[in-house]
Symmetry: C2
Subunit: 214 residues, 2 copies
Amino acid sequence: MTSATPPDILGARQAGAHPGRPYDRSSDPAILSVALDLLADRPYERVTLDAVATLTGRAKTTLYRRWATKDELLLAAIRSVGHPPEAASLPDSGSLRGDLLAVIDSPWLGGAERRLAVFAGLASAARSSELLAQAIRLEVADPYADVYRRLFERAIERGEVPRDRRARIPLLAEVIPAMSDRRMSSGTAPADRDFFVSLVDGIVLPALLGVPAA
Amino acid sequence: MTSATPPDILGARQAGAHPGRPYDRSSDPAILSVALDLLADRPYERVTLDAVATLTGRAKTTLYRRWATKDELLLAAIRSVGHPPEAASLPDSGSLRGDLLAVIDSPWLGGAERRLAVFAGLASAARSSELLAQAIRLEVADPYADVYRRLFERAIERGEVPRDRRARIPLLAEVIPAMSDRRMSSGTAPADRDFFVSLVDGIVLPALLGVPAA
DNA sequence: CAATTACGCTACTCCTCAGTAGCGTAATTG
DNA sequence: CAATTACGCTACTGAGGAGTAGCGTAATTG
């Protein structure tokens, strides 16, 4: 072992009661945030630790003292995303539409613009590494879609949506993320608020309230 | 100029009336097809011309005699996809549902499985090269979504769908491709026929026939 | 204070991959 | 036949990027 501090559960190193200069953990969040920004901006293969080092003002060797490989650092960045605050307490505006827009307008991860870019980048990065793909799915994509799923379920419980639409929910919970990622990646039109409003009013809500399943 | 044969409009070299051994064009389609398979299988950065050469039984130098750069070969591969046969003559099964499923079940590009993999790979590759992104959008993604769009338009013309749903069509035409790409990339569940049937019956048709826009 | 360990820095190794050079051979034209 | 040009092959150059070594310095503990 080169380092005296053992690896951490969270992917970084554990602080211990050692003599000697301690790890400067204060910059870890900034490092992981920059890693996310890079994943949002360019494909996995062109995210370099040199770039992370430069943008954070740390030395590349310092990054490698904290994370053993590029994948471990990116994995930690993915885990740092965490769950959306809406998962802890579902928005409750009084209508399903208002709730959906509350999730869309959430300030989480720096606001809609950055969040959408990060999500699209992660979806693309999932094709480059099976390891990262699992983490992205289990720790980011699935929990996020789950918020939409729970909003739909609750709308049924409240009688806002007929019960026989329940079978549509699993697929419907993916529609907003799927359309958002496509918009972000195709570079044709911006994924702005109007886009999401049209999506909610023109697709999601009609699909829930539309004719019963065949 | 190293080669005596000038570049082609289609991205390869023009056959001319030269003395000497002529280009063997018979393997061009196989080369572009393998390039597409590789783009379907791995990210752009890990598609190597060495792999194309090995898998096609050609020498890498031969590939470079035909296409000047990796991007030109991939561009030619993208252009070789062409338009879906359904764009030339829309399926007409008698119902919108049957028409949508006809597009989904199309044998185009080797059948649904390969076609979906290729589309998902191209969508991801679009993030790696702005040049390729334009070609993918203009020559593959947009024409494909246009088939769905025209089916929806025709269903309105025929009275199968109320006229006031027309505004939903542009977004709705992206739903099937978007959901398909997400399924293929997330690696969670297969994008099999059941998936598309659920998508059509549970999302697309209800979204078209659902309550009028707010 | 001494010992210890992290930091930034420079420089390095190793590997992959785009693209090229040169050669001997195969397939054409005239 | 000679001339020409594509082919496969091997070998190479050059760039980029993961990961490491070693040094001088900074920040801790005791």
